[in-house]
């Protein structure tokens, strides 16, 4: 039965990917599109085959949620890397580096350092006492109903934010790369992911993540070796960056008037110095806090530690993950700066203003350019890896959200743990379909929305709500149900509320004012262009005037579009004319508040069970008594 459904899903996904009625222009030119589809097809076929093998092994709820605890440390390390290196970090960070230089690289550091928290204080204790979900840890010594409800709500909230960012980002990415319609790529990602999770559960999800991580790392290594062979390895490479005219022009463009009087070498060197992108240091610190504490509270990352048999395997998996993730981020320095030289910031930004196309365009250029077979094969390969990346990350997120829904809310709260094993698996699959349908629905509904800040928000909620609750229930004797409930509520709500009033939201008033200014100034610019045109002596001068005219037309069209878009609307989503709170990431405020709420809630509430169970929890989380036993049998 499974096999038939799986085949049907495969056909459906392939059909969605191939039978695209309207092709927009993507980075892959139409005559090379077959190449992209061949690589896509090969990756989909490989992952479908793995899912088919996995489907036979998924019999119980434990198989479905945690692959029966049978994943090795090495495998889990690759799977964590596959779960964590989303398209945003793969394409986004290389893009930031290609456009902003040093600041982009600095940004990547926090994503690795985050795993120190996971390694030192979270992974092993969670493996020792947990079962399937984050709420299992919270429910251990507290009121199971109350903590499962707040835990599950928080898990679903965090996963949905992250999921929305992935679905929308994925849809846009596939459209930009190969020109498939946005809706079709969202549906293709959703259907493929559902196929993996529904039939193969955690076994298939793990293997999809491993395959994706291996592909991603391989692609990056190949690209970096090609970059090195052309520009040198480290010192030579950076000397080439400094001497590159495209890099120098980009820095001059960023600095504007401040670049006057700087020599070309100084401009190039400036690319390797901080401060081109980040202006507010406190924002960086707030984001750093959200990363370093939030990763340890991300449900889909925590869940990965329940898939290994022992605490030692959990430790091994984090260390592998740190090696892979860190190694990858070091490579992004060369990918980013390589594309700044080989492709150039102007061209990268022309395809995608956020810079997400830096690595794909670099691949195309290194292979021989837009007209060569190798160049297009490499572009197609990177595009396919990006697609696999989205599917793998989405699968992990859907599994985490579905387990909270089925295991915590349905089995734990509604049925009070009285369910047969068959019912558990059935509930897990139904929840997977629900979450998957939700993901596709949100992905389509959020078309065109700016969702980039949703990943940061997911980290902020995880750091402000999940992390304080998990950490304190594991390490602080007095922590109890009152603290968990208050901490989850305060952490989640302050993080979301602060983002809603932050500069991340769209504030029409200043945008409209800027657009109006462009329109008001248009006549003056037009007059100057007319004078210049009258005085233009040669073709070169005429070309310059034509360029100025084109820029003016573009600015005017953009300004008109802005005014049309907002109409009479003067306020943001929550009715504000300007941000109430200046930080882009709420972590600096909401993380301490989350901790404070857990502490206050615990002190105000009397919970004898939480204190009685402390010795048991503390002994188990430190030693792994019973956990090792359960795994050995």
């Amino acid at each position: 039965m499974n096999r038939k459904h799986l085949a049907a899903l495969g056909v459906l996904a392939a059909a969605a990917a191939v039978a695209t009625p309207a092709f927009a222009q993507g980075a892959v030119a139409p005559q090379w599109r077959w190449l992209a589809f061949s690589v896509f097809g090969a990756i989909i076929a490989a992952t479908m085959f793995v899912t088919y093998l996995a489907a036979k092994r998924v019999k119980s709820a434990a198989d479905f949620y945690t692959a029966g605890g049978g994943v090795s440390g090495l495998q889990n390390g690759w799977a964590i890397a596959g779960d964590y290196l989303s398209a945003a970090s793969f394409l986004g960070i290389a893009g930031l580096i290609s456009i902003w230089g040093y600041d982009g690289f600095m940004y990547s550091v926090g994503w690795l350092v985050a795993y120190i928290t996971v390694l030192l204080v979270i992974a092993e204790p969670c493996r020792n006492i947990g079962k399937y979900t984050l709420a299992d840890i919270l429910a251990y010594r507290n009121n199971p109903r109350a903590t499962r409800i707040v835990g599950a709500i928080s898990v679903i909230t965090v996963s949905t934010f992250y999921l929305t960012a992935q679905m929308v980002g994925g849809g846009v990415l596939v459209k930009t790369l190969i020109g498939i319609d946005y809706e079709i790529s969202v549906v293709a990602v959703g259907v493929l992911m559902l196929g993996y999770v529904l039939f193969g559960g955690m076994v298939a999800t793990t293997w999809v993540q491993i395959i994706k991580a291996v592909l991603l790392v391989t692609a990056s290594i190949v690209l970096v070796i090609m970059v090195w062979s052309q520009y040198g390895v480290f010192g030579d490479f950076l000397s080439n960056v400094v001497a590159d005219p495209k890099v120098q022009a980009r820095v001059a463009q960023i600095l504007g008037d401040a670049s006057k009087g700087m020599t070309p070498e100084q401009l190039g060197q400036r690319f390797l110095e901080p401060g081109l992108l980040f202006k507010a240091p406190i924002d960086q610190i707030s984001l750093g806090m959200a990363l370093v504490f939030g990763t340890a509270g991300l449900p889909h990352i925590l869940m990965r530690f329940f898939t290994v048999p022992t605490a030692k395997a959990a430790r091994v998996s984090v260390i592998w993950a740190m090696a892979i993730i860190g190694g990858f981020y070091v490579l992004t320095l060369f990918l980013g700066m390589g594309s700044a030289m080989k492709v150039g910031a102007d061209q990268i930004r022309a395809v995608d203003p956020g810079g997400n196309m830096a690595a794909p365009l670099l691949a195309q250029a290194l292979g021989g350019g837009a007209d060569s077979l190798l160049g297009n094969f490499m572009l197609a390969f990177v595009a396919a890896v990006a697609f696999a990346t989205i599917v793998a990350v989405v699968a992990g997120l859907v599994l985490a959200a579905a387990s909270a829904m089925a295991h915590d809310l349905y089995v734990g709260v509604i049925r009070g743990e009285h369910v047969t094993p068959q019912e558990q698996v059935k509930a897990a699959r139904i929840a997977t379909v629900l979450v998957g349908a939700l993901a596709i629905g949100i992905g389509i509904a959020a078309k065109g929305q700016n969702v980039a800040h949703l990943v940061a928000l997911a980290f902020a909620v995880a750091a402000s709500a999940n992390f304080p609750c998990v950490l304190l229930t594991l390490y602080w004797k007095r922590c109890n149900t009152g603290g968990i409930v208050l901490g989850m509520i305060v952490g989640t709500f302050t993080a979301i509320a602060l983002v809603l009033v932050s500069p991340n939201m769209t504030y029409p008033k200043p945008l409209k004012a800027a657009a109006q200014k462009v329109l008001d100034g248009a006549s003056v610019r037009k007059a100057r262009i007319d004078t210049d045109l009258a005085g233009a002596a040669d073709d070169q001068a005429k070309a310059a005037v034509a360029k100025a005219q084109a820029a003016l037309d573009k600015d005017v069209a953009g300004a008109k579009a802005t005014l049309d878009r907002f109409g009479k609307d003067d306020t943001s989503l929550v009715g504000l004319e300007k941000p109430l709170f200046e930080l882009r990431n709420p972590g600096l405020i909401s993380i301490p508040l989350g901790f404070l709420a857990v502490i206050i809630g615990s002190l105000l509430y009397r919970d004898k069970r939480a204190e009685d169970m402390w010795d048991e929890l503390y002994a188990r989380q430190n030693t792994g008594i019973l956990a090792a036993k359960a795994a050995a049998h």
Partner: protein, 111 residues
């Protein structure tokens, strides 16, 4: 596997056991110390970039400046912390908890 593990363990006695206390003391000092060091070291990067841009821009050799070396050192330190922790945990903590796991049912005199 889920609910009933047919053993009775005296958790209070385990926590009071000197071997557990020794494991706990060693782990607490080591883990939180490493954690505090790692976090401080990490935040030096954005702080330095913001408040000591001159230092970060200072060239060390060729075009390579302090900022780039410091950012790369963050990777080495993160890997170093992981290595130090893994070595200590493999050599010491695992052995200590293995003893406690082995004797878990005997500690406290209950069977």
């Amino acid at each position: 596997m889920a609910t009933a593990v047919p053993v009775r363990i005296d958790w209070q006695a385990i926590v009071a056991d000197p071997r557990f206390q020794a494991l706990h003391a060693a782990k607490t000092r080591f883990l939180w110390g490493l954690m505090a060091f790692s976090i401080l070291f990490y935040f030096l990067l954005p702080l330095g970039a913001a408040y000591a841009p001159g230092l970060f821009a200072r060239k060390v050799f060729g075009p390579v400046n302090v900022g780039i070396l410091f950012a790369l050192s963050e990777f080495l330190v993160a890997w170093g912390v992981a290595f130090v922790y893994a070595r200590r945990a493999n050599a010491e903590f695992d052995r200590m908890s293995a003893e406690l796991i082995r004797d878990a049912e005997k500690i406290g005199g209950r069977k």
